[in-house]
């Protein structure tokens, strides 16, 4: 009799303990969800306000009354005005072709160099690989003043082409770095087999390396896109004329005339400018994160 009660008590205690464990785990899970929700709200406050303001009429904004977080009569007026504004069209178009060229140029340079550095290896290729990494750490804010002089000699001040020349310097080192990592992880047997079958190096690159390292190429392309679309300092320092500006600088300098802030329009322009990167990241985020954290997950 006493033995069974002791037994029951022990079992009850055990079950209570396991219950408290799962309860503890559930609490930690819900706590994590709650904390994450708070952080998401904090992080998304500016984008939310951006969208809200872009839907307001200028009358509603200048009235300065009532809850600013909400829209009373939503309108797409700001977007319509922007879409029909020739200068905004120009900014968008400039940003688009600059970004496209920057992506193509940067990726071509990075893929060729990474192939050479990771596979063909020549005297000093290790030094170059280290050098590529170091140049990635040289920020544009260190270079824009000497570049201002150099760009002046090249007669490229006030020409959008200056960005096609300079943005690859921001994108190429990191893209090369990502690509070296991806190419380096392709087994040597693969290209040796191709060599024995008589393939040339260019064939190996285009028929084996590029298809196999496609995730890495997507990651590097997204990085080059981010640079081409969002960089601010170089266009601000080198472009002044209205028809040569790109989106980031155009919004700041053209829509703010004197002390008049057309906030509804500015925020609508920001929404339009933020959409392409957000769309790209929505679909291709995993590739980019995999490329970015390749060094962190190994080992």
């Amino acid at each position: 009799m006493s033995a069974t009660t002791a037994d029951n008590a022990a079992r009850a205690r055990a079950s209570a303990k396991s219950g408290s464990l799962t309860r503890q785990r559930r609490w930690s899970l819900w706590g994590s969800y709650a904390a994450l929700t708070v952080f998401v709200i904090m992080f998304l406050t500016p984008p939310f306000y951006m969208v809200m303001t872009s839907l307001k009429t200028s009358a509603e904004i200048s009235a300065e009354k009532g809850n600013p977080w909400l829209v009373r009569d939503a309108t797409l007026q700001n977007f319509v005005e922007l879409a029909s504004s020739s200068s905004f069209q120009r900014f968008f178009f400039n940003s688009a072709w600059v970004t496209a060229l920057v992506v193509i140029i940067s990726m071509s340079i990075a893929i060729l160099a990474a192939f050479s550095l990771s596979r063909m290896g020549f005297k000093g290729s290790q030094t170059i690989a280290t050098g590529v990494f170091l140049t990635y750490l040289v920020p544009p804010s260190l270079l824009f003043i000497p570049l201002f002089q150099i760009v002046g000699w090249l007669n490229l001040i006030d020409s959008t082409w200056v960005l096609v020349l300079l943005f690859p310097t921001l994108a190429v080192p990191f893209c090369t770095w990502i690509m070296i990592g991806y190419f380096g992880s392709i087994p040597k047997e693969l290209d040796e087999a191709a060599l024995i079958d008589g393939a040339g190096y260019m064939q190996i690159l285009f028929l084996i390396f590029i298809p196999v390292a496609l995730p890495g190429i997507i990651a590097a392309t997204i990085f080059a896109f981010t640079v081409g679309w969002g960089a601010f300092l170089y266009p601000l320092a080198f472009l002044y004329k209205g028809d040569q500006l790109v989106l980031t600088v155009g919004i700041v300098s053209e829509l703010i005339r004197g002390d008049v802030f057309a906030w509804g329009k500015i925020m609508a322009a920001c929404v339009i400018g933020a959409l392409p990167p957000i769309l790209i990241y929505t679909f291709l985020m995993d590739y980019y994160i995999a490329g970015l954290t390749a060094g962190a997950t190994k080992g």
């Binding site: 306000y49 090369t176 980031t248 919004i251």
Partner: protein
């Protein structure tokens, strides 16, 4: 032709020797061709690195030692002048304050977020991660404009909320210390997601057995964090922090748009001050000198990163 006949003559009676030298020759030729192609493929990269990174850096050093009209060599006068200026001392102070505190906030917040993400065991991980990444995805100049509008002195959404909750208005960008704190917080908002991604990846790579072993030894959650997680992540943490220090130190967009250095130059960083002096006031040599003050600091961090990366590579390979 003469060589081959000579070799053939010597090789009489030793049949098999004959083709060997020729094959070695073609292999060597292939090797030479290979390295020629290899060098050729690197030419565009080298052109960019030397022409648009290394040369401008060196040219900037030369520029910084000229007088305002760039007609005379004046040695280190620009640097000495700057060091004596009150404004520039404030720039140095603010740059260090900005970089160090923003990186500490970003790293801490990123660490917390990574743990929270790790805690939910990948349930809807993609969605949560996507939402938390938004600040990092929007072009910084555009989101900074939004911050400016949120903090606008006349009708800011934050001030409206403060008044609605019964507090008094705050002049976010109008007073030195408020503005300093605001630019640091905006940078934290922008950069924390990057830390989260890196730390989350590192967290996932910590073997589960280590935690099990620690549990068996009776370690509590805090002890697991201190004795298992942190040592395993130490290398990634230091590389990420150093990298972020460089980027934050050289930051430009946030301060330029939000305060443009004001009020009374109290929020200027090296980059924005160099822009004001060099491009806007047209004193290119002195502007170059301002931005060159970053060089030794950045070089030190870069050296430390490289050491960390090499150490990590060795750990991975061993």
């Amino acid at each position: 032709m003469a060589d081959t006949t000579g070799v053939a003559a010597i090789g009489i009676g030793q049949g098999s020797v004959n083709p060997v030298p020729r094959r070695v020759g073609s292999l060597a030729k292939l090797g030479r061709r290979k390295s020629a192609i290899a060098v050729l493929l690197c030419v565009p990269l080298m052109a960019i690195i030397f022409g648009l990174k290394l040369w401008p850096t060196l040219y900037g050093i030369y520029l910084s030692m000229l007088n305002r009209k760039m007609t005379e060599f004046i040695g280190l006068d620009n640097f000495i002048f700057l060091l004596g200026r009150n404004t520039f001392q404030m720039v140095m102070f603010q740059s260090c304050l900005f970089a160090i505190s923003a990186v500490i906030f970003k790293a801490t917040l990123g660490f917390v977020l990574a743990h929270l993400m790790h805690n939910i065991h990948g349930r809807n991980e993609r969605m949560w991660r996507g939402l938390l990444l938004v600040p990092w995805v929007i072009p910084l100049s555009l989101s900074t404009l939004t911050w400016w509008w949120l903090l606008d002195p006349s009708y800011s959404a934050f001030n409206w909320t403060l008044e609605w909750m019964g507090f008094s208005k705050i002049s976010f960008l109008g007073e030195a210390w408020n503005a300093r704190i605001v630019v640091i917080l905006v940078n934290t908002w922008f950069g924390a997601p990057f830390f989260m991604i890196m730390y989350l990846a590192a967290l996932k790579s910590v073997p589960e057995q280590l935690y099990e072993a620690a549990s068996i030894d009776g370690a509590n959650a805090f002890q697991k964090l201190i004795y298992v997680t942190l040592p395993m992540m130490r290398n990634i943490i230091s590389i990420t922090v150093l990298y972020s220090l460089i980027v934050t130190f050289a930051d430009f967009d946030i301060v330029r748009i939000l305060t443009n250095g004001g009020p009374q130059d109290s929020t200027h960083l090296f980059a924005t001050y160099a822009f004001t002096v060099g491009i806007q006031s047209g004193n290119i040599p002195r502007g170059a000198a301002v931005s060159l003050f970053m060089l030794p600091i950045l070089a030190t961090f870069a050296f430390l990163i490289l050491r960390g990366v090499n150490k990590r590579n060795k750990e991975i390979n061993s």
